[in-house]
């Protein structure tokens, strides 16, 4: 019987710095996650995901040769992606608006700013468990719904400014 709920969860840490990988592994361990694999950049992470299913990905943004943004795009959009819906928590020291928007538009699920703390990491994981996001597929985006809050009383046009004119929503259940 599961005690922490994390016994069967398979996590993947994608981070080029060994110290950060080690810290993230220790934090996940402390929450009860036992099955953890690691990759040093986006390219090896994709390979790792093909060899071993991942239920949760913690991913650094700045890595070489494949950074976290390209990795996320590949996971979300590649025909060979093992799991386009996998939750991706992007960990970054770059918290400028344009960076956050780029991560969001690549399809990340949550963003965790460095320096990381256990409380913040656990809060992001709890958010994924407690409030799983709908996914959106349009001509120019596939990933978690970028609208965090849906205003039930919103009466204006629903489309994002950069959506194409012929975009309509249909819900899939």
């Amino acid at each position: 019987m599961s005690v922490t709920g994390f016994e069967s969860l398979r996590a993947l840490i994608v981070e080029d710095n060994a110290h950060m990988r080690s810290l993230l592994r220790a934090l996940l361990n402390s929450a009860g996650v036992k099955e953890i694999s690691e990759a040093g950049h986006g390219g090896t992470a994709l390979q790792a995901m093909r060899e071993r299913k991942a239920d949760l990905v913690l991913c650094d943004l700045a890595m070489k040769p494949m950074d976290g943004l390209e990795f996320t795009r590949q996971v979300r959009n590649s025909d060979t992606s093992p799991n386009p819906f996998v939750p991706i928590i992007m960990i970054t020291g770059h918290t400028e608006k344009h960076r956050v928007e780029a991560a969001r538009d690549a399809g990340v699920t949550e963003i965790l700013a460095k320096p990381i703390t256990a409380t913040h990491l656990f809060a992001r994981i709890a958010e994924i468990v407690e409030r799983p996001r709908a996914f959106v597929r349009s001509d120019n985006y596939f990933g978690p719904d970028r609208r965090r809050h849906v205003d039930e009383n919103y009466a204006g046009p629903w489309r994002r400014q950069d959506d194409t004119d012929d975009t309509e929503v249909r819900e899939v259940r």
């Binding site: 386009p84 460095k114 256990a118 994981i125 309509e168 819900e171």
Partner: protein, 162 residues
């Protein structure tokens, strides 16, 4: 389940229509675990255990930067790492100065202006001093960080105007 193919009509795929990270039952247990004092205490212990090796790593980056201060790619890579985990290593002032240098280097690249080697060297020296300082010198590190921040802001403004 596989994601459906691109279409002109945007699809909103509800959470119960795609595989979730864990079952609802495991999710309920996971939330309790994530929010328990016991888990947080274990995690705090992990953070504290990570501090010493991280501090050693930062001192290694510092020595490397001092020896190769003209190598801007190396300095950028190292200072980025220092910014990422200096605070976790208990070296907040070092992290703040690294943050200022990171932003300077990123912003100058973004506006396609050459880096001022003296500005970079000044930051590297300040990072080195803060990293090697005892805890009692943290306040001085913050003063240096504030002054360097002001200097960089001025230089960036000049570079943008020029």
């Amino acid at each position: 389940m596989t994601a459906s193919r691109p279409t002109k009509k945007a699809q909103l795929i509800a959470p119960d229509a795609y595989p979730q990270m864990m079952s609802r039952a495991d999710g309920a247990r996971a939330l309790l675990s994530l929010r328990s004092d016991k888990t947080l205490a274990r995690a705090q212990g992990a953070m504290e255990a990570a501090a010493a090796p991280m501090k050693l790593a930062i001192l290694g980056y510092v020595a490397d930067m001092e020896a190769n201060c003209q190598d801007m790619d190396l300095v950028f890579d190292h200072v980025h790492e220092i910014r990422g985990f200096a605070e976790t290593a208990g070296m907040a002032s070092t992290g703040h100065i690294a943050e200022i240098l990171c932003r300077y280097m990123e912003d100058m690249r973004r506006i396609a202006k050459p880096l001022d080697a003296h500005i970079v060297a000044l930051h590297v020296a300040a990072i080195a001093r803060a990293a090697r300082a005892e805890d009692g010198d943290a306040a001085m590190g913050e003063v240096v960080a504030a002054e360097l921040g002001a200097l960089v802001a001025r230089r960036l403004l000049e570079a943008q105007k020029g």
